[in-house]
Symmetry: C2
Subunit: 338 residues, 2 copies
DNA sequence: CGGCATTTTTACAACGTTGGAACAACGTTG
DNA sequence: CAACGTTGTTCCAACGTTGTAAAAATGCCG
C-alpha cells in the first residue's frame, strides 16, 4: 500500500505532525530531524493523500470545465489551455461534456457540489437565466463565450459584435455584395451578437440585410455548415461571400461549395470564427476571427482563483473582453479581376 | 455552507448513520424514517462529500487519462469517448497532458499516486521500458495506442502492421509506383509497426523500399506533414503517393502539395491514419485508416474496471486488438486515365 | 543555576463519511 | 412468557491530513 504520514513518521522516529510540518515547509524543524524525515520521505516514496488533505482543508483541489464536447476542435484547444492555466494554481481540471443540451448543462451545475470542486468554468449553449437560480452560488463560476444575460456571473469573452463586424466588413471591403451568414440561432447569445455585427457591417457598406441569405444552425458542426451552404447554393441568386459563425461551419460550407463546383475564394469568399488549427491548413486556408484563446483560458482561471482567495467578496461581477484579430487567408483573397 | 450528513440527520431526527444508510440504499430502514430522511435530504439539498467518502472507502473515484495534447483532434475525440465510457462506471476523468515528452509522461505516472486515482489510461509517446519500473504498480494501468515492449502492461490498440499494410496496399492497387511514407520515428512503437506494414505492402506489390521516400517526423502535427511533403517534392523523382502515419501529417502534406501546384489525387494520392472528423471534410477528403475509437475507449475503461474489481488478479496481461477499417475517400480516387 | 523566552515537538481533535458491532424494538414460536 | 430471530437504529472507530494548543527541549540572561 501507499505510504502515509504515519509510516514515514515511524521510519524517521518522529511524530506524524513533524513529518507533516516538513512536508508543508513549516520553518521550525531541527535540521537533524528534517534530514531524517526527508530520508524517510524518499525511502517510502511518500505522496500526500490529496483527498484527506482537502477534506481537512475544506478545499477540493479541482475546478470543473463544463463544455459541449471535447471533440470539437475549439473546445479541445480551449480545454488544453485551461488545464495548463489551472496547473499554475495547483488545480486539477474535471471536464464535463454536455453536448450543448440544457439538461446536461444544468445537471453539471448542480451535481458538482462545492464538495467536489472549488470553482467552475462554464461554456454554456442552452442554459437559460432561470437555471442559474438553482445553482448553489457557493463556489465561483465563470462563463466563457456564451453569456446568459441578466445573470450576475463573471464572464470572459471577446467582443462578438465587433468581431463579426470586422469579419463582414472585410468581405464587403473586398467588393462582395451578397454576403450570407450561417449560424443564426436565437438560443445562443453569441449567435445574436454575431448577427448584430453582421447587420451593422452590411449597413456600413450600404448593403441590404436579406433574410434569404441568413441561414440558421442548431449545432455548429461541419455537417451543419455543409447543409446550410447547400441551401444557399440552391437559391436563385446565391451569395458571393459567406460569414460562418464558427470554423467548423465554414469548413463544411467550403466542402459543400467544392462539391457544387464553386471555387473559393473566386466564386465565394468564406470567413470563419475561432481560428482553430484546422483553418490554417484547409484548402483553401480559411480567413477567420482569431480569439486569443490563451487569454480566455488564463483570465477565466485567474478569475476563479481570485474569487476563491477572497470569498467574502465585494469586488463586482466581472465582464472581461479578451482580444481578437482577423486572420486573413486564402478563402478571402481578392479576385484577380477585381 | 453545504449540508453534511449531520445536518440532514438533525433535521430528520435520526442518527447520521441512518441517513447514510438511506443515501447508500441500505435496505432495512423504517418507511417512516426513510420518508423523513428523504424529505430532509431534499430540503437541505444534500450532496455527499466525495473526498470524505473516498477517504473512507479507499477509492478515489477518478481515473487518469494521460495523453500528449488535447488540442490534437485524435486525442480530443478519444478523450471525449473515454470520459463517456468512464461515466458508466461512475468515474471522473482527470486529463494530464504530456506534450509527448518523456519527462512529463514519467512524472504523470509517478505524481498521480494511488491516492489520487483508481487507475490510469496512458497514451505514451516517448516512454521507455525502464520508466515503468519507477511506477508503483499499485493501480491498474492500460496503455492505448503505443506499446512499450517488454513491459507486462495491459494494452489496447489496433493491429498497426495490418492497418498500414492495408493502407499502402490500397495505394499500390491503384497503380501507384512510388509510394512515400511520412512519420518514421524510431522512438515510437507504432511508427515502427506502421513502417513494417508499409514495407510488407510494397514487397507484396513487388516494389522496392526506397530510403529517400521515407521521411521521419518527430511530432505528428500538420506542420510536420507539410515540411515532410516539401522535402519529398524537392526530390529529383517525387512520389506519386504518400502514406502518412496520421491524419494531421496527411493534412499538412496535402497542403504542401497544393502549395506546390500538385493535384490530389491526380498527381499525388494521400492516405492518412486516425479518421478524425477533419479528414471527412478536407478538400479533397482524405482516405484514412479508421480505428474504432469508441471500442478503444470502452475497452480500456472496462479493462481498468475489471482490474479494480478483481485486484488480486491472476488474469493475465491483456493485449487487445480493436477493429479498424479503411475509409476510401477522394484523396485516393482512381486516375481517370488509368 | 533558576527563570524566562524561544524553538521544536507532540497530543488531540476535527474534516465527512461508512463498516462493524452493539444495541433496541418487535413479532413469533415453543 | 422466555427465548429467539428479524428488523431497524445507534455508537464507535477509522480513513490521512492539518490547526490548535499544550508540552518539552533548548538557549540565554542575570
Amino acid at each position: 500500500m501507499a505510504a502515509t504520514l504515519k509510516d514515514v513518521a515511524a521510519l524517521a522516529g518522529v511524530s506524524v505532525k513533524t513529518v507533516s510540518n516538513v512536508v508543508n515547509g513549516y520553518g521550525f524543524v531541527k535540521p537533524e530531524n528534517r534530514r531524517k524525515v526527508e530520508e524517510a520521505l524518499a525511502a517510502t516514496g511518500y505522496r500526500p493523500n490529496i483527498g484527506a488533505r482537502n477534506l481537512r482543508r475544506g478545499k477540493t483541489g479541482f475546478i470543473a470545465l463544463v463544455l459541449p464536447e471535447l471533440s470539437i476542435p475549439y473546445f479541445g484547444e480551449l480545454a488544453a489551455l485551461v488545464i495548463t492555466a489551472a496547473q499554475r494554481h495547483n488545480w486539477n481540471v474535471l471536464i464535463e461534456q454536455t453536448q450543448g443540451t440544457r439538461d446536461r448543462e444544468r445537471s453539471a451545475l448542480t451535481a458538482m457540489g462545492p464538495h467536489m470542486i472549488d470553482g467552475a468554468i462554464l461554456s454554456p449553449q442552452a442554459l437559460a437565466a432561470e437555471d442559474f437560480a438553482a445553482f448553489h452560488r457557493e463556489i465561483p463560476l465563470v462563463m466563457v463565450g456564451e453569456h446568459a444575460v441578466d445573470v450576475p456571473i463573471d464572464h470572459v469573452a471577446i467582443d462578438n459584435v465587433l468581431a463579426a463586424r470586422t469579419a463582414v466588413r472585410h468581405l464587403t471591403d473586398l467588393g462582395r455584395r451578397r454576403v450570407a451568414a450561417i449560424g443564426r440561432n436565437p438560443r445562443r447569445g453569441t449567435a445574436s451578437l454575431r448577427m448584430e455585427g453582421y447587420r451593422a457591417a452590411l449597413g456600413e457598406a450600404g448593403l441590404p440585410v436579406l433574410d434569404e441569405l441568413i441561414v440558421p444552425a442548431t449545432e455548429y458542426h461541419r455537417r451543419d455548415g455543409a447543409e446550410a451552404m447547400r441551401h444557399l447554393l440552391s437559391l436563385p441568386e446565391p451569395p458571393d461571400a459567406v460569414f460562418c459563425f464558427n470554423d467548423l461551419l465554414a469548413i463544411g460550407a467550403m466542402r459543400a461549395a467544392a462539391d457544387h463546383g464553386l471555387r473559393v475564394p473566386h466564386d465565394l469568399a468564406v470567413v470563419g470564427f475561432d481560428n482553430t488549427e484546422e483553418s490554417a491548413y484547409s484548402i483553401p486556408s480559411l480567413t477567420t476571427i482569431a480569439p486569443d484563446k490563451s487569454a480566455i483560458a488564463t483570465t477565466a482561471v485567474d478569475l476563479i482563483a481570485r474569487r476563491v482567495a477572497e470569498p467574502a467578496e465585494d469586488f463586482p461581477v466581472q465582464d472581461i473582453q479578451t482580444p481578437f484579430t482577423l486572420k486573413v487567408r486564402e478563402s478571402t483573397a481578392a479576385r484577380p479581376d477585381a
